[in-house]
Structure formats: C-alpha cells, structure tokens
C-alpha cells in the first residue's frame, strides 16, 4: 500500500520538478538574496558589506525616489482606471454592434500586438510637436496642440494615450465578461422598465465586477513595473543617446516627468552600481506588489478558479 502511494507521489513530483526548481532558483533564492542585500552596500566589484538600515534611511531624502514614486503613483491613479473604462466602453460598443463586430474587434485588438518599443516610436512621431500629424490635424481645427512627449505636463498623458491604443488584451477580457452576462437578466430588467443606462449600471456592472477587480489589480501590478515605454519615449523624444547601449541619460525626459520607479531602480543598480540600495528599492516594490496581489486573492475567489 505504501509502495503504491510512494510511486504516486514520485510521479506527481516528476510532473512538478522543473517548476519547483524554477520557483526555488529564480524566485525564492533571488527574493531572499534581495532582502539580505538590501541591508548591505556593494557594487559589481566589491563584496557586500553589512550597513543595517542605511539603505532604507537613504530613501527618506532621495529626491529622485520621491519623483519616481510620484510619477508611478500618477500612472496608477490615471493610467489604470482610464484603461479599464476604455476597455469596458469598447466591449459594450462591440456587443451592441449588429454588423461587423468581428472586423471592429480585430482592428481594436491589433495594436496590442505591436511591440512596445515600436509602438512608442510610432507615438513619438505621431505626436511630434511641430510636424506630427496629430498636431497638424489639430492645427486645421484651429487648436494649438500641446508638446506631448516634449512637455513635462503632457508626457504622461501621452503615455496614457499609448496605453489606450494598446488596450486590446483588456478589451478581450471584458468582452468575454460582458458576453457572459445572462440574457435573462437583461430581459427581466427591461420588463421592469430599465433603459440602456440602467441595464448597464444595475445588470452589467455588478455581474462583471470580479473582472473589474482582476483588471484593477493586474493593472496596478503592470504599472508598478512600467519600464519599456517610459524609457524609449524619453530617449526618442529627447533625441539623445541610445537606450540600447548602456543606460541612457535621457531617462525621464522631459524634466523627469516620465521617470518611473522601475527606471530609478534600474539606474541605481546598473548605472550607479549601488546594488545594495537597488535591492532596498526592490524590496519595497515587492512589498507593495504583494499587498496588491493579496487583495486580489482574498477578494476574488473566482480568480483562483476553484471548482467548488
């Protein structure tokens, strides 16, 4: 009897072995290292030296950290809700179209496939202050377009526009959710005299609420690691040195307005080689990301996909 159980356990283990090794070596080990390193001071050439809480104290008066936290918070507060509202609106529109829904869906989805670097380059050109087509078009309407990626005020909204353009993934998730709302609920609401807005507000919204929570949490996590678009936009808009070779001095252009938390972490670690401090920043990022994840796991049981 024990022999059979042992064999079964060994089989299960053989299924899980690669993943268990992966989680240990590429998740647990570096995570524990990061916590340890966050109490040390070292660079690529030196040995870690214990400095206690120095790295965490350093955070208190780090003007760049403050700036990057502000920018990342701005993105969390604006970028995430705007994308969710955009995705819900698009999916509502698609479910209400009687003709050509498949065509529209494909067109709305496609930009999500464009590599972030390529999409960012496209948007910097599109939104070029002088000769970009958007400002030329606005000029025809008699509106003087903003400087977009070259303006400290408009650079982050430009990134939001870029995020809205690449909204396809989120749209498909909401589309599935909206299509999953039972037709009978709508019929019942109609019989009670509900108009389109009421049906959306009191039938659609409550039913897709778990999906909204899911999208909010994954959106916040995504925003916490927002790197590619901010780095490339700063580099291309500034017309400065490459983002490919080494670390660019154009991070955060213009005037640090696109300088996100991950950009600062990267700069500290791989440009200043202050690896201890970079790990302290990483630990803070981990705590925040974990807190957000826990909200998701506790609130949305459906997310874990349990059959019960």
């Amino acid at each position: 009897m024990t022999g059979i159980r042992l064999r079964r356990n060994l089989t299960t283990l053989s299924f899980l072995a690669p993943a268990l090794i992966g989680i240990t070596v590429f998740f647990l080990y570096p995570l524990i290292s990061a916590v340890y390193f966050s109490f040390t001071k070292f660079d690529l050439l030196s040995v870690p030296r214990w400095v206690g809480l120095d790295n965490y104290r350093r955070m208190v008066d780090d003007p760049f950290l403050l700036q990057s936290v502000r920018n990342t918070l701005w993105m969390v507060v604006v970028f995430v809700p705007v994308r969710i509202i955009g995705a819900i609106s698009l999916s509502m529109l698609l479910t209400n179209l009687k003709r050509g829904a498949g065509f529209f869906r494909t067109v709305f989805y496609l930009p999500a496939l464009v590599p972030p670097v390529a999409a960012t380059i496209a948007f910097v050109y599109l939104l070029k202050p002088g000769t970009g087509p958007v400002n030329v078009f606005l000029g025809h309407l008699g509106i003087e377009g903003p400087l977009w990626f070259n303006s400290p005020v408009w650079a982050k909204p430009s990134l939001v526009l870029l995020g809205l353009w690449a909204i396809g993934d989120l749209m498909v998730i909401f589309l599935a959710a909206v299509l999953g709302v039972p037709e009978s609920l709508y019929e019942a609401a109609s019989l009670d005299g509900a108009n389109a807005w009421h049906r959306f507000r009191y039938v659609t919204m409550p039913t897709i609420q778990p999906v909204i929570l899911f999208a909010a949490v994954t959106g916040v996590i995504y925003t916490l690691q927002y790197f590619d678009q901010a780095a490339v936009a700063g580099s291309i808009a500034s017309g400065q040195a490459s983002t490919g070779g080494g670390v660019s001095s154009s991070f955060g252009f213009p005037e640090g307005s696109t300088f996100t938390y991950p950009l600062w972490l990267y700069t500290v670690g791989f440009r200043y080689n202050a690896l201890g401090y970079a790990n302290a920043l990483a630990v803070v990022l981990f705590v925040v990301a974990l807190a957000v994840t826990v909200i998701l796991l506790r609130r949305a049981k459906a997310f874990s996909g349990e059959e019960s």
């Binding site: 570096p30 995570l31 599935a176």
Partner: protein
Amino acid sequence: MTALLEAPPVVRKATQNRVRRENRLAWIAKHSIAIVLVIMFATPVIYLVLLSLMTSNQALTSDYWPNTWHPENYLRVFQVTPLPRYLLNTVVYAGLATVFTLASSIPAAYALAKLKFRGSNVLFLTVICVMMLPPQVVTVPLYLMWARYGLTGSLWPLIIPTLFGDAFCIFLLRQFLLTIPSEYLDAARVDGCGEWRTLLRVVLPMARPGIAAAGLFQFFFSWNDYYGPLLYTSENERAWTLSLGLASFHSVHHVDWNLVTAATVLAMAPLIVIFFFAQRAFVQGITLTGVKG
C-alpha cells in the same frame, strides 16, 4: 411592453415605427462611433507605413502622403543596420523560450489541475505570486548570479529559466486543463495508462487550443521583451534583439526617419501575420486569463 400589446392597432403601429426609427438612429450612432474609433486605432500604423516609404527629406516634413514611393527603404534598413542579426537573435530567443516554457510548464499545470497532492493549494498560490511579481524585484540578485557564470552579455539568462516553467504559462494552462472533464482521464487510467501516458496521449491532444494560446503568449512576450535584453545584453551589440536594436537605431539614424519607421514596421509585421493565422487561439487564451464572471 405589455402596454404596447394592449394599445389599439393604429397606436401600436405608430409606436413600433418610432421604436424602429430610434433603433435606426442608435444603429447609425453606434456604427459611426465604431468607424471613428477604427480610424483612430489604424492611423498610427498606416502613418508609419507611409512614412517608411518616403525619402528621408520628406519624412522630416509634415506630409503624410509620399511624393515618390521608396520601397527600397526596407532593403536599405538591412544594409545600414545589423538587422538580420537582431532578427536571428530574436527568433532564437523567442523560439527556444516558447518550446522550453511549454515543455516545462505543461506537466506542472497538469499536476495542479488534475492530480491531488498535499500542498497543491500552497503551490498554486505561490505560482500566482511569482506571476504577479514585478521582474525588477529579483533583477539584481539574478544578474549577479548570471554574471558569476559568465553568461551576461548573452541571451542565455533569459532562455535558461524557461526550462524551469513559467508562472503565467502554468496558470493559463491550469485554467484550461480544468475545463477538460476528468472522466476522460479516468477512462485512460482504467485502461492502464500511467499518469505520464495519460498526459501525453489523452490530455495533450485535447488541450491543443490552450497550449497554442500559452505558446503564442510566450512567443510574443519574448519577441517584444525590452527590459530583459537591455539588462543582459546592452554591452554586447552582437546579442541584441529587435526591440533593443530598434530603440537604439533611432539614435544612430535619427535624421533618417523613413528608415527608423521602416525598421519599426519590420519589427511588428511578423506578429500581425501570426495573429491572423492564430486569432482564435489568442482570443480564447486572453479570455482564460480573466475571470469567469
């Protein structure tokens, strides 16, 4: 509704006409919005393509229509940059990462979805935590680890970990495998199949759509990845991927916007072609990542 049925025929007809007219107005309004949105979504790509076909002088102006057409820009991109090398690196990275991820993640996903074992809940929660972890958190320790083995400056630090499962892929496949009725597996077991044979002979063929979706996601992720290659290969241009080459291409050829945009179009074209062949797998895969209402 009931009021409508009780009304005298003439009134009913008038009301129906009104309803129909309103419906038609709503129809026109919705489709107009949709068409405006299509223009907005398509413009960036169309503009890029047009720009890539101009002379470099015209690309500096505010024109949007090429005076003369220059498809040879696409050939020049290959001449003035190591694009073939970037492309090769990207294909190797994305290709190996996809194959490795699937091979290592499918068994784990199967165990999580269909086998009962102690600690399966804890393991699944861990997988979700790994999935949610911003890559920047573990960047420095991992970089130091790969530096110790002398593998920085290559794409191997990004490829090797895919041999050991990917959290998102495991999650996605588990969600998919849960939808396969366990009766099929039980039947195979009654016929004397071991768990591995059940997985290979029964589950794999049934899970093809889910596997396709997971593979596509991994492929696209690796193809588009910028942070990873920037971190590990920025000092060694021979190992650069398309994303990295594209981001720095601009700084070298920043006056030749026609060439920059041609390279950009070349980087996105393969993905769009793949999408049209695998649209269904995609949509199904994305739907699985969300919650079932």
